[in-house]
């Protein structure tokens, strides 16, 4: 069984990069992508992923709001926030809303792996 991942970011470049990282990790499949908060919520409901990487600043609905709504609907949702440097207070808001962890751009593949394994409770 592999973990299903939903990648949310308004930049296609970032989505691709993140997809590549998961592609290199055995046991993970990216099953969906979203480019804004509204889409992220829809995709989450539809796909029920095991893990979400969520950008913060996005059009239509921010990653924080999207995370909050997803968690309200599914308390078990595992969401990792992706932020830029200097967005500490935004990340805090998302964590407060129930996001499990965070990574800060620009990120290295190892960093993503570390956080993901922590959130899933598996050895990296």
């Amino acid at each position: 069984m592999s973990y299903k991942v939903l990648v949310v970011d308004d930049a296609a470049f970032m989505r691709n990069m993140i997809k590549d990282v998961f592609g290199s990790m055995p046991g993970f499949t990216v099953i969906g992508e979203a480019s804004n908060g509204v889409e992220a919520i829809e995709k989450y409901k539809e796909l029920r992923p095991d893990l979400v990487t969520m950008d913060i600043v996005m059009p239509l609905k921010s990653g924080i709001e999207a995370a909050r709504e997803i968690i309200n609907a599914d308390r078990e949702a595992r969401i990792i926030m992706c932020s830029a440097l200097g967005q500490e207070s935004l990340v805090m808001e998302a964590i407060d809303a129930g996001a499990k962890d965070f990574i800060v751009k620009p990120f290295k593949a190892e960093k993503i792996q570390e956080v993901v394994s922590r959130v899933l409770g598996v050895k990296a």
């Binding site: 308390r75 932020s83 440097l85 967005q87 500490e88 207070s89 990340v91 805090m92 964590i95 407060d96 962890d101 965070f102 800060v104 570390e114 956080v115 922590r118």
Partner: protein, 670 residues
């Protein structure tokens, strides 16, 4: 770090929880099904456990832990609350109280915790035996013996007995320098730790962390039954930790900051309600949003009152000076100052106010225990718990009220058989009622016991040599009843038996009068007794009547003044060398303040004599003074040794002109 500061916070909070625990146990004794009370009970034990463990008070932690286990079983309906259970819980609460006392006095306690824990365990076994017989699963479905065995194990999960003892840990964490969001990391670590146990405190507080305020170290006090290594492993696994220290807390270890609230926050509750099924986990205490209230050391409050007192003195000094200066600006400024000071004073006095409840909450337990011991049936009703008094007065009232209650149960209330024989209702009733009238508070303690007979009290006092039979004849009922307040009267065992009163009433009197209060006793043989304490709202800053005698000014608390009069010399009557005047249709004696203080008699023969009417030992008298000066707000300072031994004086105050004057303790003038 100053340990004592945390210790006093610990003591205050622990006692608060214990007080609540006692109350709730008593309530449960009456209504064992009250779910809300069972939950609260659990929480109190839980909080005490967390606090004690983090302070390193292991005995207290262990006992409260066992009590918490017991209460948890009530919560889950695995055990029922029987009178025996409430006895055990009360015994446990008492033991915890003794442990708290021992902590306060820096000594080890000789409380036999093991025995109480044994009792708790014994109760658990016995109860689960009962529930297995009358349990949900029908014994008919299975062979009797086997079913019982199974249920027995089910009712007693192995976790209860083999769980390692909860310990407090001091965790110091440094988030690595290159963390992009250190405070977020800290919050995540905190969240993780909450899954491992109870986070008692954090520095910085969770609210500060969420506000992004993390500089340097994160200190967390965790109470958990996890092993130290496991905690270390988990924290390290959270990432971005550059330095980590996990140490079990011992005595004298840095104390937790109890100012961070220990109560479970609303958010956590909502979560578990919305969560799937029913989480059987106890509420996890964690740090909620910043509180709207803070705990303040009472020494600080006393300091405020002193400062305001000085301000008032200084203010009246400025008023005095301004009289010679014709300046509107100065007068306006001073008037404004008046308002500001009054405002400030009111606010500070408000802060010092405590509800009677803080005092009364102890009484149900006391009455219950006393009644049990004496084999009497008594119910206690409380009224006016929300009435507020200055904390110094509340503090001084505890023991006097307990004396009165003890008297009521021990001597006032009859044994059930005697009550039946007398055709009286059972259970007997005691009512403690607080009420407020302007700046005075009345506390009334009444019982429907056998009451007191004034004539017999007089006899007893004569036999004791406390009064002469001549004095006795002149006494009215009220004065006779107040004989119980004379020192020496109360110690007479035989008297307490016949009077239904006695022990410690002199102690009550000496506690109440120095703070400007007075006692009133009313009683009817066969019907009961009512003792009323009349108290000022505050002590330090009071309205006083200033009077003059032999060129000296004295202050009398307004609360003690019934009336001031200018009596026409021609209306004064004389009987047996005693001057008397008419007051509301009664003849009351005139006593000269000069004479009382052995000052030279006044030479003037003015037509009108200034008189202050007041009550002394149940008797209304007219106090003759030279001049009535006026009413003024006064800041009273207590008298130091040896001046405090002088009867009739209870403090000093400074007038606007800098002159220090005495406050008269009217109740002890004669």
């Amino acid at each position: 770090m100053d340990m004592s500061k945390y210790k006093s916070m610990f003591l205050t909070e622990a006692r608060e929880h214990l007080g609540n625990m006692n109350q709730v146990v008593l309530a449960l004794e009456k209504d064992p099904g009250d779910k809300g009370n069972i939950d609260s009970l659990f929480r109190y034990a839980h909080s005490i456990k967390g606090m004690a463990a983090s302070m390193g008070y292991n005995d207290m932690a262990e006992l409260s832990h066992k009590m918490e286990d017991m209460m948890d079983k009530f919560r889950k309906g695995e055990m029922s609350i029987t009178p025996e259970a409430t006895d055990i819980l009360l015994e446990g609460a008492d033991a915890l109280g003794q442990l708290v006392d021992a902590v306060e006095q820096d000594r080890t306690s000789d409380v036999d915790i093991a025995r109480i824990i044994e009792r708790i365990k014994g109760y658990g076994n016995q109860e689960s035996g009962v529930s297995s017989r009358g349990g949900v699963t029908s014994p008919l479905l299975e062979p009797e013996g086997e079913g019982e065995k199974q249920l027995q194990t089910a009712a007693e999960p192995p976790t209860t007995d083999h769980r390692p003892l909860t310990t407090g840990f001091n965790i110091s964490i440094e988030i690595s320098q290159d963390s992009p969001a250190p405070s977020v990391r800290a919050v995540l670590i905190l969240r993780k730790l909450k899954e491992l146990g109870e986070v008692v405190s954090t520095i910085p507080s969770e609210a500060d962390l969420k506000g992004g305020k993390l500089s340097g170290q994160l200190s967390i006090k965790l109470v958990s039954d996890m092993a130290q290594e496991k905690i270390e492993e988990v924290v390290r696994g959270m990432g971005e930790v550059s330095s980590l220290k996990v140490e079990p807390l011992k005595d004298e270890v840095q104390a937790p900051d109890f100012r961070t609230p220990i109560a479970a926050p609303q958010k956590e509750k909502g979560k578990s309600e919305a969560g799937e099924a029913k989480e059987s986990r106890p509420e996890i205490p964690s740090i909620g949003p910043l509180q709207q209230t803070v705990k303040v050391n009472t020494v600080l409050l006393d300091y405020f009152v002193n400062a305001i007192g000085e301000l008032i003195i200084n203010k009246s000094r400025l008023h005095d000076i301004s009289r010679g200066i014709p300046s509107k600006e100065l007068r306006d400024g001073l008037n404004h100052l008046d308002r500001l000071v009054r405002d400030l004073q009111n606010q500070v006095m408000n802060v010092r106010m405590m509800p009677m409840e803080s005092l009364m909450e102890r009484f149900p337990r006391i009455v219950r225990d006393l009644a049990r011991k004496e084999g009497k049936e008594v119910t206690l009703d409380l009224e006016g718990q929300d009435i507020e008094l200055d904390r110094s007065i509340i503090e001084g009232l505890g023991n006097p009220l307990i004396h009165i209650i003890r008297n009521a149960v021990d001597h006032g209330i009859e044994l059930p058989d005697d009550r039946r024989a007398a055709g009286k209702l059972l259970p007997a009733k005691i009512l403690i009622k607080a009420s407020r009238e302007k700046d005075q508070v009345f506390i009334e303690i009444s019982d429907d016991g056998k009451g007191m007979d004034p004539e017999r009290l007089k006899e007893a006092a004569i036999n004791k040599g406390l009064i002469t039979s001549e004095q006795a004849t002149g006494m009215n009922k009220k004065e006779a009843l107040l004989l119980t307040c004379i020192a020496g009267f109360s110690t007479a065992k035989v008297v307490s038996d016949i009077s239904g009163r006695g022990v410690g009433m002199d102690a009550v009197k000496s506690a109440v009068e120095p703070i400007g209060g007075s006692i009133d006793i009313d009683s009817k043989p066969g019907a009961g007794t009512r003792i009323t304490l009349k108290l000022p709202l505050t002590v330090a800053i009071i309205q006083s009547l200033l009077i003059e005698a032999a060129q000296e000014i004295y202050a009398i608390p307004i609360s003690r003044v019934l009336k001031t009069m200018e009596v026409d010399r021609d209306t004064v009557k004389t009987s047996q060398k005693q001057s008397l005047i008419d007051f509301d249709g009664f003849l009351i004696p005139l006593l000269s303040l000069r004479k009382i203080f052995r000052l030279p008699p006044s030479t003037g023969q003015a037509k009108f004599i200034p008189v202050v009417v007041t009550e002394v030992k149940g008797k209304i008298i007219g106090l003759v003074v030279d001049r009535l000066v006026g009413q003024q707000e006064t800041f009273i300072r207590p008298l130091g040794r040896p001046l405090n031994k002088i009867g009739g004086l209870s403090g000093t105050t400074v007038l606007g002109n800098g002159r220090t004057i005495f406050l008269l303790d009217v109740g002890n003038l004669i």
